[in-house]
């Protein structure tokens, strides 16, 4: 995969043939090493070097990953603190460079007129750069776009019903239209809720407005977020963005975000105008749905959950040694039949306390997918 959105790769050979040979018919299309006239000055020489650096780094990293002796250290070796303590600490972190970040945000204010200008000329603004851009974009909207209604979509939320969003946008646009022509009798509108998506799009694209310059602005925080990552969502957003009376401002954070769009979307629908605006503001809301690595994946955690599950089981199941087989259980009068054992085992399987696999002889074997240290921690807890 290419490392950049538009990597300055060697010119497409078939584009060359197009460019240099206008007479050529597609049927006879060949790929001549076109005698292509290159202007003396090539601007992207430096870029090509950088590109080379990129690929070199990639292979270096791959090599390093393969050859060097991998450290066998486990996360549990860190000795993570109690989850609740960790969360509290995470919530009370002292932000770094607070003053500098604030003045950085402040410095972008000088660009607001330009952003507004570009938005009004019909481009969609795409903000990128490290740091949360939510506050920045919303501040821009509330200071410079007061003439227009602004709807915010939060892409970092897990699930977003775009139809609902469209209904809201249509309602806002309808209000804006009504306010513009107070004198003319407003015709009765079919409630937007019951309209189809195509209808809504047609309404937002329609010629109903008296002046074409008015629009509703949509802010999409994290257009690359989990709630909008589906191609269907992106296609729909692109269609919304291409409506006459809609302008879009979006932020992206993921390095692969541009892969969400094809050229039709980038150039004709979203019509992106890129702005590099690193803010270094902490990703607070954007990161809310990401698990804290030391809170969830550690053995302490799984031992703890295992203990909770085991404690809430029936006394018979609790006291049953997990690694014993049916015979052993029967000997100890824990179960009386295979069916009972299976029902217990099903319970364990559901909670991932045991798993089955087949050994070389084709027998089903039960095992506990907990690491040794996890088990060690677990045992004193269930047998105090």
């Amino acid at each position: 995969r290419k490392a950049k959105l538009f990597p300055p790769v060697p010119p497409l050979s078939f584009l060359h043939s197009f460019w240099s040979d206008g007479e050529q018919t597609p049927e006879s299309r060949t790929f001549p090493s076109a005698a292509f006239c290159r202007p003396a000055m090539e601007i992207n020489d430096g870029e090509e070097e950088e590109e080379f650096e990129f690929s070199r780094n990639y292979f270096l990293a791959k090599e390093l990953g393969g050859s060097s002796k991998k450290s066998g250290r486990k996360i549990s070796d860190i000795d993570p603190v109690d989850e609740q303590e960790l969360r509290t600490a995470a919530n009370n972190l002292e932000p770094k460079h607070e003053r500098e970040v604030a003045s950085l945000m402040e410095s972008y204010k000088a660009s607001y007129p330009e952003w507004g200008f570009m938005l009004r000329t019909g481009f969609g603004l795409l903000m990128y750069g490290f740091g949360s851009k939510k506050a920045l974009i919303e501040d821009f909207a509330s200071t410079s776009l007061t003439e227009y209604s602004v709807v915010v979509i939060n892409g970092y939320v897990q699930s977003i019903n775009l139809k609902q969003v469209m209904v809201a946008i249509a309602e806002v646009w309808w209000d804006q239209l009504k306010a513009k022509r107070r004198n003319s009798p407003s015709q009765a509108q079919q409630p937007f809720n019951s309209r189809s998506i195509d209808d809504l799009l047609a309404f937002m694209d329609g010629q109903e407005a008296d002046d074409d310059k008015s629009f509703v602005c949509i802010i999409v925080n994290n257009i690359d977020g989990p709630g909008l990552r589906e191609p269907e969502s992106q296609h729909l957003l692109a269609r919304i963005a291409s409506c006459t009376h809609i302008r879009i401002i979006a932020s992206i954070d993921h390095v692969n975000a541009p892969l969400l769009w094809d050229k039709k979307m980038v150039h004709t629908q979203f019509n992106w105008y890129w702005y590099h605006v690193p803010t270094f503001a902490p990703y607070v809301v954007e990161g809310v749905f990401f698990p804290l690595i030391l809170a969830h994946s550690s053995t302490a955690q799984s031992a703890k959950t295992a203990a909770i599950v085991l404690q809430s089981l029936t006394p018979n199941a609790q006291s049953m040694p997990i690694e014993s087989l049916y015979a052993a259980s029967r000997e100890r009068f824990l179960v009386s039949s295979q069916v009972t054992l299976n029902s217990h085992l099903t319970e364990f399987k559901d909670h991932e306390l045991v798993r089955t696999r087949r050994n070389a002889d084709g027998q089903d074997c039960v095992y506990i997918p907990l690491a040794n240290d996890g088990l060690q921690k677990l045992l004193p807890e269930i047998n105090p």
């Binding site: 040979d21 206008g22 202007p39 945000m105």
Partner: protein, 817 residues
């Protein structure tokens, strides 16, 4: 106290806790019953708020819903004026504000009807404005001026854009009318198979006839494009054209033919374009009913599929089968865009579907042809004076050839350039003035918020003016007017010469954009005499002779001049006639070209009479004739020589690159970097650069030490990112944590051991716990910072969480910049 709990949309509950309530329970965990919402509370659902302390806003903590549906709110601060708002951030969408009328918005910024409290207030640190009315007046002026600039931009850009659109449409006119003719013929053929009678027509099933009547007339349009983006525009134009001729036209795209949704989607999309009202079911019989209901049934239904090769083959063939069964009831004609060759349908469709197609081939304009039209319209024949510098032209050319290859995005790049020009160049409104052709009046700068003095100052401070006209001391409106008129004149003659040169080498598959880049070059071989500062045209030919011999074989311009020398009579005549048209405004050339045309016409007459005589030639006369022919040949040579000299003179005298003219900044865009940044966002590299060179961006005093040293004051994500560079494609979480910890604790080490600390961060952990410092961060806080930094790196896509197979490793997804 009062605890409000209510629902907000469907995501989470809204909790607003009042001061009294929190004051009573300092430093303990407060549990608030949260109402279950429609979607139900999930344990991972988090609520977030902002904490207002005496008006100032600070980032506030994240709280969590417990599995039991309780909301945990750490009470944190014991400050008296604590006011807590929760949630809102977790809504999928909100209305930030509604459009306000112009009068009220100035005063009530930020206090609209909507919930604005949750916005982080960036203006809080600004000193309160002393006089609101002053500020408002200035603001309203500013808005007015920006509107005026906007208008100027729209006028200039729309003149360019509309002429480009027109020229592209005109270029397609022939092929469009050819297609229309074929559509008509096909329709007549379909009708000749038999029109269903009333009884047949009302039945909800197709009419069955013989196999030939089941064929669908299909136009395969070779788009000859790299990018289907351009085709979309062309097909839209085609749709409009056919519609204007009375056909019923629908556009389907490859998205409608996806295997995911089956044939229903494309039917629904098709019906949606004809039948009004909501559709619950999509059925082709509905289309038949609709067609029957049309006033006059003498128009075909044309279905355009823009990129046939991207469609799902099975769905497309199903669609074709369906259409062919119904073709007598719904006289459908397909037009399919094909990007590669006419063989494409054979490769894509099964044979039984192919049998139903009666295909005919059409070919659209090729990309280079289109490009030439666009460049010619936008830069050489344009109605607006806006132009771009040599550097920008080279960049845009490279962008087109190397990266994009679509006319649409080339035009888009031009629009960005134009918009940037209008947002950065204070004198840009002069372009509007040029457009309105008010040559004898000084531009009305005050409309755009510039006093005349200011405009003159800005204009006469332009580098191009300073370097050429420093001897002129009297700087008045008239001086500016003269300068601008001169600028316009030189720009016009430049375009004339480029056009003439282009006419000369048109036949050789030369790209006008290449020629333009060469002609724009202010350091090119032909531009030396136009150097800024020497407006006087060169009197002696020696210098020009020198570079001429040096650069003889290089460049398109020289090629053009040479070609004129070698053109045969008839082509030369065509060329001269074209030049005659272009040179109207420059009398000295116009008269010479006219004379050349006359002499060539004479030559041709002679030649024709000779040809007529040829038949009756006898051997004895041949000799004499040869002499005559030689004479004609000589005359042609003379004409060639004359024309070539003429174009040479034109180039040297009038092809003044715009960047060599005083005041060119007014109409010439030159910020390549800005254009590139707006056009090509370099996401992957820039994010990593941000993390690496964060200091260049935030300019703090604490991290000013540059080099490889990782300082604990750096942003945690930067530290983590830098540390990850030392690892391979996977990073051991434990090792990463230990290096992070040692960095975080390194301030304490430095203070203790002085500068002895090595720069290296060995991945092996060093137990630092022995060093007990008072301000040392707690283990929990270091772990929390570590976790947060990893979350941030995940948000930016630089690392991926561990998978089951490698639970102790994080995967790196980007590798340095």
């Amino acid at each position: 106290g009062s605890i409000e709990t209510r629902e907000v949309h469907s995501a989470v509950a809204f909790v607003s806790a009042r001061r009294e309530w929190l004051d009573g329970k300092q430093n303990e965990r407060v549990e608030v019953e949260a109402q279950k919402t429609e979607s139900g509370l999930v344990p991972t659902h988090l609520a977030l708020g902002s904490c207002h302390r005496g008006g100032a806003t600070s980032g506030f903590t994240v709280s969590e819903f417990t599995p039991a549906g309780k909301l945990l709110v750490p009470s944190g601060s014991s400050s008296k004026g604590l006011h807590l708002h929760c949630c809102c951030y977790m809504e999928p969408f909100t209305i930030l504000h509604k459009a306000s009328s112009r009068k009220t918005d100035k005063i009530s910024t930020g206090t609209g009807k909507s919930r604005t409290t949750r916005r982080i207030d960036l203006t809080a640190s600004l000193p309160a404005s002393t006089d609101i009315s002053d500020v408002n007046a200035a603001e309203s002026n500013e808005r007015h001026y920006s509107n005026m600039r906007m208008e100027a931009f729209e006028a200039v850009w729309s003149s360019t854009e509309s002429s480009i659109k027109d020229v592209l449409r005109e270029a397609n006119a022939t092929i469009f009318s050819e297609i229309h003719e074929w559509v008509r013929d096909s329709f007549d053929t379909i009708v000749s198979f038999g029109v269903p009678n009333f009884h047949e027509a009302t039945q909800p099933f197709p009419v069955v006839k013989d196999a030939t009547s089941k064929q669908i007339f299909t136009g395969l349009v070779l788009t000859r494009n790299i990018e289907f983006v351009d085709d979309l525009v062309t097909f839209e134009d085609l749709k409009q054209h056919l519609k204007s001729q009375g056909c019923h036209v629908a556009n389907l795209s490859s998205v409608d033919f996806s295997s995911k949704n089956g044939v229903g989607t494309c039917l629904r999309s098709l019906l949606g374009q004809f039948v009004t009202g909501s559709l619950d079911t999509a059925d082709i019989s509905m289309l038949a009913t609709w067609y029957k209901e049309q006033q006059n049934n003498d128009n075909p239904v044309v279905i355009i599929i823009d990129d046939m090769e991207r469609c799902c083959a099975s769905i497309l063939s199903e669609f074709i089968h369906m259409l062919s069964e119904w073709v007598l009831k719904v006289p459908a004609i397909l037009i399919m865009g094909v990007a590669t060759t006419v063989d494409a349908p054979r490769n894509v469709l099964p044979s039984n579907a192919l049998h139903r197609l009666h295909a005919r081939k059409f070919t659209f304009q090729s990309l280079p042809e289109k490009m030439n039209y666009v460049v010619e319209t936008a830069f050489v024949k344009q109605s607006s004076e806006f132009t771009i510098s040599h550097k920008t032209a080279v960049f845009m050319r490279n962008y087109f050839v190397h990266q994009n290859g679509s006319v649409t995005s080339f035009i888009r790049a031009l629009k960005i350039a134009c918009a940037q020009h209008f947002s950065t160049q204070p004198l840009c409104f002069i372009l509007h003035w040029f457009l309105r052709d008010e040559d004898n009046e000084v531009p009305q700068s005050h409309i755009y918020g510039l006093s005349q003095e200011r405009m003159l100052k800005l204009a006469f401070d332009l580098p191009s003016w300073k370097s050429t006209n420093n001897q002129i001391t009297q700087l008045s409106g008239e001086t500016l007017l003269d300068g601008l008129t001169q600028l316009k004149k030189l720009h016009k003659t430049w375009r004339m010469v480029v056009l003439c040169l282009y006419e000369a080498i048109k036949g050789e598959n030369v790209q006008l954009l290449d020629l333009m880049c060469e002609a724009l070059d202010p350091k090119g071989p032909f531009a030396s005499q136009f150097d800024i500062g020497s407006r006087v045209l060169p009197s002696d030919d020696s210098t020009s002779q020198k570079f001429h011999s040096l650069e003889k074989n290089k460049g398109l311009i020289n090629r053009a001049i040479r070609r004129v020398k070698e053109l045969p009579a008839n082509q030369l005549l065509v060329l001269m006639k074209a030049w005659e048209k272009h040179t109207v405004d420059v009398p000295e050339f116009h008269s010479e070209v006219k004379a050349l045309v006359l002499s060539l016409l004479k030559l041709e007459e002679n030649g024709e009479s000779l040809n007529q005589n040829k038949v009756e030639m006898t051997n004895t006369r041949k000799q004499a004739l040869r002499g005559h022919l030689n004479g004609a040949d000589k005359n042609l040579r003379v004409a060639n020589e004359k024309a070539s000299n003429l174009v040479d003179l034109m180039v040297r005298r009038y092809m003044c690159p715009v960047e060599c003219v005083a005041l060119h900044e007014v109409l010439c865009f030159d910020c390549v970097d800005q254009l590139q940044a707006a056009l090509i966002g370099d996401m992957r590299r820039r994010i990593q650069m941000d993390l690496q060179d964060f200091h260049a961006i935030i300019r703090c005093s604490c991290c000013s030490k540059r080099g490889s040293t990782i300082l604990p004051s750096m942003p945690d994500s930067s530290i983590m990112y830098t540390l990850a560079q030392e690892h391979g494609d996977v990073v051991n979480v434990h090792d990463w944590y230990q290096s992070f910890k040692s960095v975080v604790l390194s301030t304490h080490m430095v203070s203790k051991r002085g500068k002895s600390r090595s720069k290296q961060h060995s991945p092996t952990p060093k137990k630092r716990k022995t060093t007990s410092e008072l301000s040392q961060p707690s283990e929990a806080s270091i772990q929390a910072r570590f976790c947060k930094a990893i979350v941030e790196l995940q948000v930016t896509g630089l690392v991926r969480m561990p998978n089951r197979r490698r639970p102790d490793y994080l995967q790196r997804l980007a590798f340095g910049s």
